[in-house]
Symmetry: C2
């Protein structure tokens, strides 16, 4: 694992643990913490922190955004694993939340993490202008709701065991995965109050990174090692899930992904040294084995 | 039904229909609209609008708060009805969302309504100061998440078929129902930038109204008519749910509720004519037969 990813994941875990400690106690805290703190690379947070470097943002201007994104991501994983969704029993090498705590508790813990994401951004103590916070909240809602993750998951389920064309698969994956990655690169530019041109550039880069992340996930489902990735492999094919690989084949998909990565790195190079960490992460994303 | 409630419900439905029309299309819009627009008294919105009258707030300063509260409420009903939760097939006299659209779609539509609630408050076009919007967002998150509705539902499920004391039941109902009612009376006072004293008073009144609403729901579960209330009766007892009635008996609970209503009306009278509508609604809540 890349050193910078490990370091960022540790920073995030410390932030989240403190945040949970400061929350009023409820019985859902334990399953919520299980869903968000049990392993995971926190790759989205690393992308946010890498991008924040490009715009010289200090940690206290961005850490709550990382926390909120991880809450949204964990909520979506907990719900995706449910029996009526993807029916996965294993997540990050451990029992999925509904296996560990039961279905109703998993649903409620997921809902509570989603809610907490918005609370984290609205919180007074983080040093972001109120109007900027509201814009971030609106953008995050668009990533999480029916136009984003929830909408993408609906399409993913409805495409199972059907022949779906290329464009539709890409559109579904953009909603399910791409939008939140897009937000990860856009949010630091919004906080730094960059020009629309820069914000559009960062949105594009974020969405493309998300796309590459999804492709690697699909590739790992075929060539990955169950022990490494912490969940069963070959489940997409077994479930008749629509992926690019099912359409283009393994090698063509890999080739396609490397071409897009090269294009992205060229774009990032114009930010000079400040973009080095994001480029490192980008390389990791496509070469990861878990 | 009270005229003012019908009128307010119509206002809300118009607002929500327009809001959904302005959203980007997704396949989840139909089940979301089914969950929020199919019948329902929209009693929470009426309480918000009644309270807004006390503080002379215009509709465009409060309508998005009503919408957000209805989104949160509908999301919680959709999820409560799921097989792994309360397993109810009927809601407002119609098939529950998961019966109509399937379980996974119901979960995703619920999640999307919860998300939309926060988007509705963050939206630029509503005429509320940014800092006030952020405070409202934070308060609503506290009502919806693990310290509110989701936490209350967890307790409710875990209390089934167990002997639970009075205080614990009241605490569970405060989370599951009370907090959102509290928000309904508090939000207009926050927007009107009233003193802490007034805000505390409104919080108290809201929470008490929620408590009375819950008691009436429990009473209706015993003496109500399935056709009127649009869902099966006697389900609490069948499920071994903990309610005040199971502890105090029907008559003592009714007596207790009327005493508290009288106390609340006395408090509200000091706002003069401006509180008339809220008092009317309060009377309706305890006397309703559905």
């Amino acid at each position: 694992m890349l050193k910078v990813i490990v370091k960022n994941a540790e920073t995030l875990d410390r932030f989240l643990k403190k945040y949970f400690k400061d929350q009023k106690y409820s019985n859902l805290i334990i399953p919520m913490k299980y869903g968000i703190l049990t392993g995971g690379k926190k790759i989205r947070s690393t992308i946010i922190l890498n991008t924040a470097k490009i715009f010289n943002l200090k940690l206290n201007k961005i850490i709550n955004i990382c926390g909120a994104v991880e809450c949204v991501h964990s909520y979506s994983l907990i719900h995706d694993d449910l029996p009526c969704m993807d029916n996965d029993k294993l997540r990050r090498g451990k029992p999925a939340t509904h296996i560990k705590f039961g279905e109703s508790t998993a649903i409620l813990a997921g809902n509570s993490l989603l809610t907490l994401a918005f609370e984290m951004i609205a919180e007074k103590k983080y040093n972001i202008k109120p109007n900027v916070k509201l814009l971030l909240l609106k953008k995050l809602a668009e990533c999480a709701g029916h136009t984003g993750i929830a909408g993408g998951q609906f399409l993913d389920l409805s495409y199972e065991k059907r022949k779906i064309n290329n464009l539709k698969i890409i559109n579904m994956q953009k909603k399910k995965t791409g939008k939140l990655f897009k937000f990860c690169c856009l949010a630091p530019a919004i906080i730094a109050e960059e020009s629309n041109k820069v914000k559009n550039e960062m949105s594009f880069i974020g969405e493309e990174i998300g796309f590459l992340f999804q492709i690697t996930d699909d590739l790992l489902d075929i060539k990955g090692n169950k022990k490494n990735i912490g969940k069963p492999v070959n489940k997409d094919r077994k479930k008749g899930k629509s992926t690019l690989i099912n359409l283009l084949g393994y090698n063509k998909t890999l080739e396609f992904a490397f071409r897009r990565k090269k294009m992205l790195i060229n774009r990032l190079k114009k930010y000079g040294k400040k973009s080095n960490e994001l480029i490192e992460t980008l390389n990791f994303i496509l070469e990861r084995t878990y």
